[in-house]
């Protein structure tokens, strides 16, 4: 029995059903612990004051916004190569979650920007490339919505996702070139010098784990919903004459 059989819609519904509550439970636990720890048990930063605590929402959301697109890219490739319906639907299901993460990152960033930089928005490369990512998500979802036939929609959105990924990378580079910017560099790099201090770091890790689990649970849930919707559609089609 190959691994692919778990991707058959019926099997998929079967094995994901029991997992779902656990996934949500674990996500909730991590988020509660991480956020509580981060918000109430860490000291205020000496420069940034209490606003630094936005980091516990901002960074995990920003990471997941990018990872969601990666996941869609992989799922699209699987659909194009193996034509597994579940993977196409998983890509479709991940898009709204991804765009929400992007929005959370943008909005927490904007709220953070007001005290830090004195403005809600600056054309900083990091922020700008998130705005572009937001546009990519929008286009991807609009294309799904505009096409009636599910297989055609899956094919076209997959191609768009691949071509889009190339252009998203290009934009990232272009935007860096275009403006130097105010934003922090990567603080989670292995190079210890640059990292934020440990007090902030560990609760941040827990929050990131929470967001990863939340993303996983939401995508599972939405994929299941999409599968059910396809089943309804199939039933309706077989009903008409």
């Amino acid at each position: 029995m190959s691994l692919w059989e778990y991707a058959n819609p019926k099997k998929f519904m079967g094995w994901t059903g029991p997992i779902l509550p656990w996934a949500f439970g674990a996500a909730g636990l991590c988020l509660v612990v991480g956020l509580f720890w981060g918000f109430f048990l860490t000291p205020d930063d000496f420069r940034q004051g209490s606003t630094v605590k936005i980091i516990y929402l901002h960074v995990p959301a920003a990471l997941m916004a990018i990872n969601a697109w990666m996941m869609m890219l992989v799922a699209s490739l699987i659909w194009l190569v193996r034509r597994h319906h579940v993977s196409a639907l998983a890509a479709k299901a991940a898009a709204p979650v991804g765009i929400t993460m992007t929005l959370i990152a943008l909005m927490t960033g904007a709220i953070w920007g007001q005290p830090m930089w004195g403005t809600y928005w600056a054309w900083d490369p990091r922020l700008t490339s998130f705005l572009i990512l937001f546009l990519f998500y929008l286009g991807y979802m609009a294309l799904w919505a505009a096409i009636d036939d599910p297989d055609t929609a899956a094919d076209l959105t997959s191609v768009l996702c691949m071509v889009g990924s190339v252009f998203a990378l290009l934009s990232r580079y272009a935007v860096n070139f275009w403006n130097q910017g105010l934003h922090q560099g990567a603080s989670l790099s292995l190079d210890k010098e640059e990292n934020v201090s440990d007090v902030f770091f560990f609760p941040l890790l827990v929050c990131i784990a929470g967001f990863v689990l939340l993303f996983f649970a939401l995508v599972l849930l939405r994929t299941r919903t999409e599968i059910r919707a396809r089943r309804v559609r199939a039933l309706q089609l077989s009903e008409v004459r």
């Binding site: 297989d151 199939a234 039933l235 077989s238």
Partner: protein
């Protein structure tokens, strides 16, 4: 979702097949599948793919080009030239230099059919080719199919609701092949 099932036929060179059946039975679907424009749920078609051509009401006539320019374009695409006789075959001699946009419905249809004489393919799939044609034009069309196409060893599969008066044709009524229950298609089936 399957529309037809168990349809099967052979057509020999020089012969035509007329598809009949009530509205919505799946004539258009069958022809598009044969022409390779959509994929069959199951089954195979076997003919030289580079000899096939498809035509429906939507005949791609550009209203801003003249009749002659329209036909010349298709000839070019297929690497042919426009045969002089074409103007007689479809009674287009007088309309040659008119812009296609100013033609009546039937005149435009005749131009669309004349494309078939220009591209010179052996296997034709025609979907209701005589829509909006009058009796005289229908006869022009039948004569073209008989004398120019079939006589040169061509094959034609034609869906139509009217009588074309083609003796060389066998008729296939699709009614008995209607897919029993319109079951879900391959891709939908996985979800049931």
């Amino acid at each position: 979702m399957p529309v037809l099932s168990n349809v099967s036929f052979d057509v020999e060179a020089g012969l035509a097949l007329i598809l009949r059946g009530p509205n919505g039975i799946g004539k258009t679907t069958l022809l598009r599948t044969l022409a390779g424009l959509q994929e069959p749920v199951a089954g195979t078609c076997d003919f030289p793919a580079d000899q096939a051509a498809y035509a429906s009401h939507a005949d791609g006539i550009k209203t801003a080009l003249t009749v002659r320019e329209n036909l010349a374009f298709w000839a070019d695409v297929y690497g042919n030239t426009v045969p002089d006789a074409i103007w007689d075959w479809f009674d287009l001699a007088d309309l040659r230099d008119r812009f296609a946009g100013t033609l009546s419905a039937g005149q435009k249809r005749r131009v669309g059919l004349a494309r078939l004489g220009v591209i010179n393919r052996k296997v034709l799939f025609l979907d209701e080719p005589t829509v909006s044609l009058d009796g005289f034009s229908v006869k022009l069309f039948s004569n073209f199919i008989r004398d120019q196409h079939l006589a040169n060893g061509g094959i034609a599969v034609i869906a139509t609701h009217i009588d074309l008066g083609l003796d060389e044709a066998t008729t296939l009524d699709l009614t008995p092949f209607a897919a029993a229950d319109f079951g879900p298609s391959d891709s939908d089936e996985a979800f049931l």
